[in-house]
């Protein structure tokens, strides 16, 4: 009788412990949305840069240095 109870207890504990393995992840997996709108024009694709990306990048980098007061004052 005692052996049966012990066996039942062990089985019960095992079921509870193993049940944890069946837990599903509850974190949402974000999927990158597929944009439905109009295609955008890149900033270098205008009258000023005529599609020259390198020229645009250079202009932006040079312009960025205006925010560096160590370069502006010395």
């Amino acid at each position: 009788m005692i052996a049966r109870i012990a066996c039942g207890l062990v089985l019960g504990v095992l079921v509870v412990v193993v049940a944890g393995c069946g837990e599903r992840p509850q974190v949402i997996e974000y999927k990158q949305g597929k944009y439905q709108g109009k295609p955008d024009q890149p900033p270098w694709d205008g009258a000023k840069f005529n599609g020259n990306r390198n020229e645009w990048e250079l202009a932006i980098k040079q312009r960025n240095q205006n925010q560096n007061e160590y370069r502006r004052t010395n």
Partner: protein, 222 residues
């Protein structure tokens, strides 16, 4: 090309709200919508800090993930923009955004929510560059003119920096290095060269700034 980014230096921001004003003026943002705002922590207490907050143009933007009509997109330069012709004004993006960037104009007699409006990095939207339609819906397209966001360019203390992330990192690194070395011999205090000119090579050290003691932590703004 690195990604376009904003960074705000809390040590420099003086809560003047010039960035907010510049944004509203440049993009003719409607009444009740603030694409950018200044947040102050411990306002009025010595040691208070302010930062200017707008859309941070996240790499893995939660607004893009939750938008039910998929009207938000990333440009090649990493700017998060949206198409107002598709936006249904549901407000999911507002709840998803950790910065509270998406704004909704109140339209109609019952305060019906309009289409989402947010910081565009002054880069307009999916209309032809610098077109009237783009300006009316999204505001100015400054990158197409070779310029950077108006808020960052007009920040008087240069607390708010905006542009190529690599360049911003270099600027910020140089600034922090200079700030750390302030007052030590051989390194002029910040602003010395601006006020008195840089010491000329070969000239007597009298022209150089006197060594100043390290600034004591006062708890105020620097």
């Amino acid at each position: 090309m690195a990604r376009m980014r904003f960074i705000c230096d809390a040590e420099r921001c003086i809560e003047c709200n010039a960035c907010v004003t510049a944004c509203k003026q440049e993009n003719e943002v409607p009444w009740g919508v603030n694409r950018r705002r200044v947040v102050t922590i411990n306002d009025g207490v010595p040691g208070e800090r302010s930062i200017s907050v707008a859309c941070m143009h996240c790499s893995d933007a939660p607004c893009i993930a939750v938008c039910p009509v998929d009207c938000i997109y990333h440009t090649e330069e990493g700017v998060v923009l949206h198409d107002k012709d598709i936006c249904i004004g549901c407000g999911y993006c507002f709840y998803a955004c950790p910065f509270g960037a998406p704004q909704f104009p109140q339209t109609g007699a019952f305060g019906v929510r309009g289409k989402m409006d947010k910081c565009t990095f002054c880069a307009g939207g999916p209309e032809p560059n610098n077109s009237e339609a783009e300006f009316k819906k999204y505001g100015r397209n400054r990158p197409a003119e070779g310029k950077l966001p108006a808020c960052a360019e007009m920040c008087s203390t240069k607390a708010l920096l905006g542009g190529d992330a690599d360049v911003l990192s270099d600027i910020y690194r140089e600034r922090v290095t200079m700030r750390a070395a302030r007052g030590t011999p051989g390194t002029p205090p910040w602003g010395w060269a601006t006020a008195y000119g840089a010491p000329e090579p070969g000239k007597s050290p009298a022209a150089a700034p006197p060594p100043a003691p390290a600034p004591a932590p006062t708890g105020g703004k620097s």
